[in-house]
């Protein structure tokens, strides 16, 4: 299981399904980034549309690979340089997906957290099933999102929601996300991919030049704001608070420790 893509068929011919399938929950680390870079360089420029989906039953994506981050910070004196380089690379991939001239539809379920939510926010439209939950738990670790999520969430749902989600660290259910405008379609359990494929098929009926023009008008996050997220992440990541939080995170035995902090 890994991060792969495949050509879709029938009315979706020419479009690609970008499939996240790395256990335990599609954590975004170096291996995933290399595949995403290959996708953006080799596949995205020639395709008519993209469906982003997880093939794992438990959810879409739990976020950045914090175990890998913790190991890198512990062992590598040049860690900050490497962390910044990683953020710049994943930022470029996310911008390519976000600003692609073709429709990009996300079908999400289960955990959509942290970097996973930042990936989802690159999609033009999100379709979710009732199991989906969305959140930015980064502040629990002493960090801020660094993959452009704050900028894109602010663009999509407004600063009030960004502040609530970031400062509380809480997660939103699919229904709450629908009310907030984070997703725009909520379907029955397990039906999110089928619904997203029908939406993509509809979007593909439009002349590509019109779709590309619409996306140029709609999806232009401020590059300076994206850079400021990287700067803020890098300023925090080597603090004793973050290092201690990452050590505690790595030591946890919860199978999915990303989604909740320890109860008192």
């Amino acid at each position: 299981m890994s991060l792969t893509w495949r050509e879709l068929e029938g009315p979706l011919q020419g479009a690609l399904a970008l499939e996240l399938g790395t256990h335990p929950l599609n954590e975004l680390g170096e291996a995933a980034l290399v595949e995403l870079e290959r996708f953006v360089a080799d596949a995205l420029p020639a395709c008519r549309g993209v469906l982003v989906v997880s093939t794992l039953e438990r959810g879409f994506c739990a976020g950045a690979d914090l175990r890998g981050l913790a190991a890198g910070l512990a062992e590598d004196p040049e860690a900050l340089t490497r962390v910044r380089a990683f953020l710049v690379r994943i930022g470029a991939v996310f911008r390519a997906l976000d600003e692609a001239p073709v429709p990009v539809i996300g079908a999400v379920h289960g955990a959509v957290f942290g970097g996973g939510l930042e990936l989802a926010l690159c999609c033009d439209v999100l379709v979710a099933d009732p199991s989906a939950r969305f959140g930015f738990p980064e502040l629990r670790l002493g960090l801020v999102p660094g993959f452009g999520g704050l900028t894109r969430l602010g663009r999509d749902v407004g600063q009030a929601w960004v502040r609530d989600l970031l400062l509380s660290g809480r997660s939103l259910s699919a229904d709450a996300a629908l009310r907030a405008g984070l997703i725009t379609q909520r379907v029955a359990a397990g039906r999110q991919q089928a619904a997203a494929e029908r939406l993509l098929a509809q979007a593909l009926r439009h002349p590509p030049a019109a779709t590309a023009a619409a996306k140029r008008l709609l999806k232009r996050p401020d590059p300076a704001a994206l850079d400021r997220e990287i700067d803020a992440f890098c300023e925090l990541v080597q603090s004793p608070t973050v290092l201690a939080a990452l050590r505690a995170f790595v030591a946890r035995t919860d199978p999915l420790p990303y989604v909740a902090q320890e109860r008192p």
């Binding site: 438990r58 809480r170 259910s173 699919a174 229904d175 199978p255 999915l256 909740a260």
Partner: protein, 77 residues
């Protein structure tokens, strides 16, 4: 109203988690159900659909019993 909400919370938990059978309002929610953090979030989502109110997940941090949880639901109804 809270007693009624507590009974509906227990009924919902019993539908979703077999371990909830036989548990009472004062039972420990997490130990009683034997659920992890992801399942706790699933329970929250189902509570939202059942009652039409949103309970933030951080409210679970100091919830111990089904009655505690029902009280948090009730104050948002």
């Amino acid at each position: 109203m809270t007693d009624d909400v507590t009974q509906r919370v227990l009924q919902l938990a019993r539908r979703r988690f077999p371990a909830a059978e036989g548990l009472t309002a004062d039972a420990d929610l997490f130990q009683g159900l034997g659920i992890d953090s992801v399942q706790a979030l699933e329970l929250l989502s189902e509570l939202e659909r059942e009652f039409g109110v949103e309970v933030p997940d951080y409210e679970l941090l100091d919830v111990r019993t089904f009655a505690d949880l029902a009280a948090r639901v009730a104050e948002r109804m």
